[in-house]
């Protein structure tokens, strides 16, 4: 950012650190950085400690790879949850989304990524191998692929199906169809074709 030479060096460093976070552009990084000199030392410390606390205390669950403080995580150690079904998602945030829906009481597996042929992200770059190992214990009977209905998510689902299908595990895919409040007129062909395929009696 050579066009703002008047920015003091410490602020510049903070801006650059914020800018490295996902979803933060150069402008959105400046906005929280400039007011920092006016905040109390307490508030500044609280921020740094909160960041460090996350880094020190949060780890990946050794079973499902979700982010957690206790290992195994709350979902994996909860005996009331179904141990025979595992829902495979791309990111920890997807676990929250599925929990919010309230319709699922099984296990999770977080891949921390998705196969992306366009960018060259292969099976070695995401946590698929851990899923295969989990299945070897024999308790899991169904794997629900809950990756996004994008090209990358579909590629991942098909890959996992190909990997696990021959082992006799039931691999299922989330239904694809119209979102609530959608406009049929603006719906793309793929979604509409899938919605027709997956239609149900009412």
């Amino acid at each position: 950012m050579a066009e703002v030479p008047s920015t003091p060096e410490p602020i510049q460093r903070l801006i650059e650190a914020l800018h490295r976070l996902p979803g933060i552009g150069p402008k959105s990084a400046q906005r929280p950085a400039y007011p920092i000199p006016r905040t109390s030392e307490q508030e500044a410390l609280a921020l740094t400690e909160a960041v460090m606390d996350v880094k020190r205390r949060i780890r990946l669950c050794s079973v499902c790879l979700n982010i957690t403080e206790a290992d195994p995580c709350g979902y994996c150690s909860d005996d009331r949850r179904d141990k025979t079904v595992v829902c495979v998602v791309e990111q920890p945030l997807d676990v929250l989304a599925i929990e919010r829906s309230g319709g699922y009481k099984g296990q999770y597996h977080v891949l921390h990524g998705v196969l992306n042929p366009i960018e060259g992200v292969g099976p070695e770059d995401i946590h698929v191998r851990e899923l295969v190992i989990r299945l070897q214990a024999g308790e899991i009977q169904e794997v629900i692929m809950a990756t996004n209905p994008s090209l990358e998510g579909e590629a991942t689902a098909m890959y996992v199906q190909r990997l696990l299908g021959p082992a006799g595990v039931r691999v299922t895919r989330l239904a694809r169809g119209l979102p609530s409040g959608a406009d049929l007129e603006y719906t793309d062909d793929v979604t509409l074709a899938r919605a027709l395929e997956g239609r149900r009696e009412i």
Partner: protein, 265 residues
């Protein structure tokens, strides 16, 4: 003030998508009338977006764009063909993505190459209609030819002499087949079989449909694949992402598990 219209229509195939900020995405599109270009779709990652499904990679769409300061902005998009069969099969999907990456790497922004666009659409349609995966080899040969790297298959690439029937040196650095007498002056290369030479010669005069009708044995198919991906790598001076991905899919999960799964990477 310029008098150019504020917006324009074009059709195109979406080659790739990159996310931008909270909810926007940048799409790379290859169009028969505009060439390859990047454009922004605003709020396309929000669930209520009307354009999202029409701009997935590998979709052929009719698009309406407004000129922007840096990048143009999509205002409407409607699918022409979504190639559902391609999306439902991992091998077809991977090949289609590989061909899209080739188009992306062999073209420069806003250079119109209508012939190459037709080739890409032909490929997607053929794959969607169930053509064998060998059409990928046809695509590789044709994209090399249409971007100025045609492989010399009829005469020696160095002396112009005739090529006697038999195993012949295939040297990408020299431009194609090299006769026995010129081998010393050719760079690195590989020997290829008569059958492979014939298949490639056939491809230069055939349509994609005719080539798809050719029954290639697995061994010959593998030979062509090795020779052509080497040619592509040599021209691009790099590996393709999707090429590496294909290799990763072929040898899945060979490495030991990450030592400490408890560590956040």
């Amino acid at each position: 003030m310029s008098t150019r219209p504020r917006s324009y229509n074009t059709e195109g195939v979406v080659l790739r998508r990159r996310n931008l900020g909270e909810a926007d995405s940048i799409f790379t599109v290859f169009s028969p009338t505009e060439g390859k270009f990047d454009a922004i779709a605003k709020a396309v990652r929000k669930p209520k977006s009307r354009m999202r499904g029409h701009l997935e990679p590998l979709t052929r769409s009719q698009m309406h764009l407004a000129h922007g300061r840096n990048l143009d902005v999509f205002t409407q998009a409607e699918t022409i063909a979504a190639y559902l069969t391609v999306r439902d099969d991992l091998d077809r999907l991977t090949l289609a993505v590989y061909c899209c990456e080739l188009v992306d790497r062999f073209t420069v922004d806003r250079a119109v190459q209508a012939e190459l666009y037709d080739l890409l659409v032909d490929l997607l349609e053929a794959l969607d209609a169930g053509a064998p995966l060998t059409v990928g080899r046809y695509f590789e040969l044709r994209i090399l030819a249409s971007t100025g790297y045609e492989i010399q298959l009829s005469r020696c690439a160095i002396c112009g002499g005739s090529i006697p029937e038999g195993e012949t040196l295939f040297s990408v650095g020299s431009g194609g087949l090299v006769c026995a007498g010129c081998r010393g002056s050719a760079g690195a290369g590989r020997l290829i079989s008569v059958r492979a030479i014939k298949a490639m010669r056939f491809a230069t005069g055939a349509t994609m449909g005719q080539f798809a009708g050719l029954r290639l044995e697995a061994e010959l198919e593998a030979e062509l694949q090795r020779a052509l991906s080497e040619a592509i790598r040599s021209v691009l001076e790099r590996e393709t992402n999707s090429g590496r991905y294909v290799e990763a899919l072929a040898g899945p999960l060979q490495r030991p598990v990450h030592e400490a799964p408890g560590d956040v990477q």
